[in-house]
């Protein structure tokens, strides 16, 4: 079992961990790609060993980021059939299974993004001012599509401390010729009166319709609600978390303090603590609608989406498996 993980796979894993690849959608696709590469590069001929090797790669990928549910969903979509199979045939068969599942996931993800752009762009009116937080491909695709359809849209993009993903959003929109203004995270309430709707992405959607997304999202949702501004979440359904059904809370990752302040500042103040949570949870009551590839759904319909993906049986199984594990 001494099979090493191919270098390219290890690199993808570290890119996810170090946030060189970020955004739940991109992470999911990167994970599927890594599994595909791993399967293709397997040099041996023992099918059982291949299965263990793929399991190891899957575990390596799962450990990279704790919050993004797209990651376990993508990994389980790709490797689930192989790992659940009662017996494995040849390495070639097993390899084909993984590669097919991986490419079908990537195809699905691309099509989903396209559908979200189309559906979401219908919600954007001519002349709208849209506020967004962090960097979401789904949100950028919606705005670009609306602009292509001839709607005049201007965007407020928050800086998004600590890592300034707002700059990425600004660049993407600027390149698409969309009018974009960068604002500090602290000025959302000052400017909300000029905003027609808020659209953000998601890292995970829980079974009750709560949305896990970049830290600050829930504060923006609260501000939007205070002012009666519509608050939409744009996300692929593979970010809906079946794990939350069993009551499992979504783990909020805490990142290193050096993302917020330089090391010298920390050295100078040994007693000072920096709390750097990556995500927060927006309650379903603050969300107008979730724009997915299957349509715009109210957050309370999250369970419906999960049932449609995993089947009613599957959803119940998910819940009972967790309960069994507890017991």
């Amino acid at each position: 079992m001494g099979l090493a993980v191919p270098e390219e796979v290890a690199r993808i894993a570290s890119d996810i961990r170090e946030m060189r690849v970020r955004g739940a959608g991109r992470i999911a696709k990167a994970a599927a790609t890594a599994l595909m590469v791993a399967a293709e590069r397997y040099p041996g001929s023992d099918a059982r060993e291949f299965r263990e090797y793929i399991r190891r790669v899957a575990e390596l990928l799962l450990k990279t980021r704790p919050t993004a549910v797209s990651l376990p969903n993508a990994v389980s979509y790709v490797v689930g059939p192989l790992l659940r199979a009662p017996h494995v045939g040849s390495v070639e068969e097993a390899r084909r299974l993984v590669v097919e599942r991986a490419s079908s996931f990537i195809r699905y993800a691309d099509e989903a993004l396209e559908r979200i752009a189309e559906i979401g762009s219908r919600l954007v009116r001519d002349g709208d001012v849209v506020l967004t937080h962090c960097n979401s491909l789904a949100v950028v695709s919606i705005i670009k599509r609306a602009a292509q359809r001839g709607k005049r849209v201007s965007v407020y993009a928050t800086e998004t401390r600590p890592l300034f993903q707002g700059h990425v959003t600004a660049r993407m929109l600027l390149e698409a010729g969309v009018d974009v203004t960068l604002i500090p995270d602290s000025s959302v309430r000052s400017l909300i009166r000029r905003v027609d709707k808020v659209i953000v992405g998601a890292d995970a959607v829980a079974a009750n319709g709560a949305v896990v997304n970049k830290i600050g999202t829930s504060l923006i949702a609260l501000i939007a609600r205070e002012h009666g501004v519509d608050f939409y979440v744009a996300t692929e359904t593979y970010k809906f978390s079946p794990f939350t059904l069993s009551g499992e809370p979504v783990v909020i990752e805490e990142r290193p303090p050096t993302e917020v302040v330089p090391q010298e500042f920390l050295d100078k103040h040994p007693r000072l603590r920096v709390l750097n949570p990556s995500f927060d949870v927006t309650p379903p009551g603050y969300i107008t609608g979730i724009i997915t590839e299957v349509g715009v759904i109210p957050p309370s319909a999250a369970l419906l989406v999960l049932e449609e993906i995993y089947g009613r049986e599957g959803v119940r199984e998910q819940a009972s498996v967790a309960v069994d594990e507890e017991a």
Binding site: Y156, T158, E159, T160, R161, P162, F164, H167, A170, R171, L174, D179, V180, T181, L182, I183, P184, D185, S186, S187, V188, R189, S190, L191, K214, I215, G216, S218, L219, L222, I223, E226, I252, V260, V261, F265, K268, H269, R271, L272, R273, V274, L275, N276, P277, D280
Partner: protein, 320 residues
């Protein structure tokens, strides 16, 4: 004409580079004295006009300048050295009053802090700092969560100074306030200005902190002085929010080749009275709706105010 080094002072006050409005007021008063001693009444008046216009939100600056201008105007027939001496004494008196107000307000506010409390604050404030210092001196343990307070990032200075005082400090990004609010017992804010309806103008981000506190049923106290109450707002003056110095924000964009991206960065925001549990001043703790009564006590009813701009134009005309 205002000489170049004073010109620069106007710019520093305008952009909020001096974070604390108390410090900005001290700085501006010193510059006005310099203009008076070196350039005469005309230059003094012009600088005072420019400084108060540069930061019209600062009620402390406007109120203190009004007192100084009254002093200068009343004695304008006297030789310049005498006027300058009177002005110097007036500024000393004003600074003394502000310093005692910080102590008196903090003495009231500290009674509201219970042992083991976790406080949350933003930006840099001498008032809030004094409250924490008092609480620590009483030997009560207290933790303070400080937000970064971009743009400007004065929260880092606040966190650094509180930490040096021996306080248990946690720094968070501005976005994290709703996330941490569950663990917060009280929010302490300072003020740039308190309006007649009890709304508080303070560093941008304050109003979203107050909103998150309100949602989580966490109490919000504003620690300030009655000298920051704005009597002008009683007669319908609007508080115009200036743009912050966003050069850091732009510099980051420039480094990434994103000069084409526009930036909008208001320096202050307005927290409505509904989200404020009490305003604490040297006169004690009051509900925000009592701001009106405080203005009446200070300036009469209806408030009788020296029209600052007119008085300054009058002084400028006279020259000197």
């Amino acid at each position: 004409m205002v000489r170049p080094e004073l010109e620069e002072a106007v710019e520093r006050v305008r952009t909020g580079r001096i974070a604390s409005s108390t410090e900005a007021t001290f700085f501006a008063l010193d510059k006005m004295l310099q203009a008076l001693a070196e350039g005469g009444v005309g230059e003094f008046a012009e600088l005072a006009l420019r400084l108060t216009r540069a930061r019209p939100t600062s009620a402390l600056l406007v109120n203190a300048t009004r007192e100084l201008v009254r002093e200068v105007a009343e004695h304008r027939g006297e030789p310049l050295e005498e006027i300058a001496e009177r002005a110097r004494r007036k500024v000393e008196e004003l600074k003394g009053r502000i310093r005692s107000a910080i102590e008196a307000s903090a003495a009231v506010a500290e009674r509201r802090i219970e042992p083991g409390d976790t406080l949350l604050t933003t930006s840099y404030s001498l008032f809030v700092k004094q409250v924490v210092r008092n609480v620590l001196e009483r030997g009560r343990d207290v933790r303070v969560v400080v937000t970064e307070s971009r743009p400007g990032g004065e929260g880092l200075r606040m966190a650094s100074e509180l930490s040096s005082m021996g306080c248990d400090v946690t720094l968070v990004v501005d976005s994290a306030v709703r996330y941490v609010m569950k663990g917060v017992d009280k929010v302490l804010l300072s003020a740039e200005c308190v309006t007649a309806n009890g709304a508080v103008v303070n560093k941008v981000g304050s109003s979203q902190i107050a909103l998150a506190a309100h949602e989580a049923r966490v109490r919000v106290f504003v620690v300030t002085t009655s000298m920051k109450f704005s009597p002008e707002t009683v007669v319908g003056e609007l508080v115009e929010i200036p743009e912050a110095d966003a050069s850091e924000v732009r510099e980051l964009l420039r480094k990434k080749g994103l000069e084409g991206v526009k930036v909008k960065a208001p320096l202050f925001d307005v927290t409505p009275p509904e989200y404020i549990d009490a305003i604490i001043t040297e006169r004690g703790l009051m509900a925000p709706s009592f701001a009106m009564m405080a203005v009446r006590d200070l300036y009469g009813w209806p408030p009788k105010l020296l029209p600052l701009e007119e008085a300054l134009r009058e002084l400028m005309k006279g020259g000197g």
